[in-house]
């Protein structure tokens, strides 16, 4: 029995399909937390109050005395916020079967590191030294995790997906529904083109290299749709060998980490407007969390150094492309490939009749929360003119939600680094890596052409 098998102790199998999904899946808990924040924010706003007190973030600073003054004034708010996050995430994770006593100490470490990253990012000279918080968080996390000083028990607090999904649901509150309706179809069209082309390139390159078709399919969706999540989903759908998913995971992680740094740097060198760069990152990154780190980092550059646009445009374009455009493909790919595997490929010992309901079972449900958040805020702000929206709704409602979202994303970016231990990753093998890399190359070029040329007018003009 391998070390990996030894960790699979055979805990009782629980079905998470159907209504049970509502409390056994992370996506739904991200919706409860994210939408809960949005609804509380709207209720407080309607009653003349705000989440502002809780949504504290470090202020811009240029000298240490100024920084210490700010922190001394706001320490109680930070304490309250820490308690809030612990209570919210502990409730969600306890329902999912984690132990709060493992999570809480690990989260205290995560919050402390996040605080340091946030403070560093607010330094007025940070831009000059490229200290964008997302990249800084990732670099610090990778350094700590791969330096060997990180105890394993701390992993209990590094829940990358819960943080990023919660953040994306809250992000929906900052993205107007009209923009979703206007740019959503373009995102879906661009994502469809890129997903199909990328999958076919990886799949046929892998087959040309005589890689098993199930591994080829797992690698293909890993590059085409949603990285690790899609690879796992399709591995089950096509009956892939046990080692296929870890192979795909290794290649996805390595390329995702490279792209977090490479795409913003390339966009910066070409002075791409923020919306176009966000769309390109959404098209060519392999995971939501990694892509958001890159999009947020580029957003920090927007408005400086010849880069047109705003931070919001970068994140909005990324989210439309990746979350609305690409992520929703997962169930469709899983179903189609399950049909192909059971009807066209050689029959295997384990079998399953594909079920179209799989498209719904595998649907990334947090996207629903993201859309609902956008609808709720659009309704809540419907009676405000643009100037009043900026004067009243932004500081009282949308701004605090955005600040809380920033915290959730910083937790996520740090957690990516803190959970990525390169020495632990499975050996991918040169052929799968080359097949995937060919798809990366095509994806990056095609993504750039679609984002910066074909649909450039849409992405460049994303405004409220």
């Amino acid at each position: 029995m391998s070390t990996a098998d030894a960790k699979l102790n055979g805990s009782p199998v629980q079905s998470t399909v159907g209504w049970r999904e509502l409390w056994l899946k992370e996506d739904w808990w991200a919706i409860y937390l994210g939408l809960g924040l949005v609804i509380v924010g709207v209720v407080l706003f309607a009653n003349g109050s705000s989440l502002k007190w809780l949504a504290v973030t470090p202020a811009k600073w240029s000298s240490l005395p100024q920084l210490f003054d700010n922190l001394a004034n706001d320490w109680l708010r930070y304490l309250a916020q820490l308690v809030f996050w612990i209570a919210a995430f502990s409730a969600a994770l306890s329902a999912l079967g984690h132990k709060a006593r493992d999570f809480v100490p690990a989260f205290l470490v995560l919050y402390a590191l996040s605080f340091v990253v946030f403070v560093a990012g607010q330094w007025r000279e940070a831009f000059r030294y490229n200290l964008e918080p997302p990249l800084l968080a990732l670099a610090i996390g990778l350094f700590i995790a791969n330096g060997g000083a990180l105890p394993r028990w701390l992993d209990a607090g590094f829940r990358v997906e819960l943080y990023v999904k919660t953040g994306i649901v809250v992000l929906g509150a900052t993205l107007p529904l009209t923009l979703l309706i206007w740019a959503g179809p373009v995102a879906i069209l661009q994502a469809s083109i890129v997903s199909i082309v990328t999958f076919l390139v990886i799949f046929w390159t892998a087959r040309w290299m005589a890689i098993d078709r199930r591994l080829a399919a797992v690698l293909g969706v890993g590059g085409a749709v949603c990285g690790v999540s899609a690879a796992i989903a399709v591995a089950g759908a096509v009956g892939a060998k046990k080692g296929d998913a870890p192979t795909a995971i290794t290649t996805v992680i390595l390329w995702a980490i490279v792209m977090i740094f490479a795409l913003p740097i390339a966009s910066h060198l070409m002075h791409l407007p923020a919306g176009i760069a966000g769309a390109w990152i959404g098209t060519s990154e392999f995971a939501d969390a990694a892509g958001l780190a890159a999009a947020e980092a580029y957003g920090q550059i927007a408005g400086h150094d010849g880069v047109a646009g705003t931070a919001d445009q970068s994140v909005w374009a990324f989210t439309l492309m990746k979350v609305v455009g690409r992520d929703v493909w997962i169930g469709i790919w899983a179903f189609v490939l399950a049909v192909v595997a059971t009807t066209r490929w050689d029959r295997q010992e384990t079998g399953i009749r594909p079920n179209p309901a799989e498209i719904w079972w595998r649907f990334p449900k947090f996207v629903i929360g993201f859309l609902l958040a956008s609808i709720i805020i659009t309704i809540a702000a419907r009676n405000y003119s643009m100037s009043n929206y900026n004067k009243v709704v932004v500081p009282g409602l949308v701004g605090p939600l955005k600040d809380l979202r920033s915290w959730a994303f910083i937790f996520c970016f740090l957690s990516i680094g803190l959970t990525t231990r390169f020495r632990d990753l499975a050996r991918a093998g040169i052929k799968p890596f080359l097949a995937f890399s060919t798809g990366v190359l095509v994806n990056v070029i095609l993504g750039f052409v679609l984002s910066a040329v074909v649909f450039a007018s849409y992405w460049e003009s994303l405004t409220r």
Binding site: G10, V160, A245, E349, I352
Partner: protein, 93 residues
């Protein structure tokens, strides 16, 4: 009931090496991977066993559905898959 079970096994082509289900009256619906001793899909255990799984994804994500690993075939399978090597989990008394 025993006759029904025998006929059902014959129809499924169950081989002699396949172990008996835990209970003879197990409903057919339970004779799928989710009820098999070879099947593993606990999300926390899978995250611990598969390197890098939790870095950019999660065992608790909707997209994973109920999928898990079959230790008999060393394959990823859906919880509602089935095969002739099904062996029921021991029932708790």
């Amino acid at each position: 009931m025993r006759l029904w079970t025998k006929l059902w096994r014959q129809r499924r082509g169950r081989s002699a090496e396949a172990a008996r289900p835990a209970r003879a009256d197990t409903p057919r619906a339970r004779l799928v991977c989710s009820g098999c001793v070879h099947f593993r899909n606990d999300p926390a255990e899978m995250e611990a066993a598969i390197p890098g799984f939790a870095s950019l994804s999660s065992g608790f994500a909707s997209v994973r559905g109920d999928d898990g690993l079959c230790l008999k075939h060393d394959r990823w399978v859906a919880a509602r898959s089935s095969c002739r090597f099904f062996r029921g989990r021991p029932t708790r008394s």
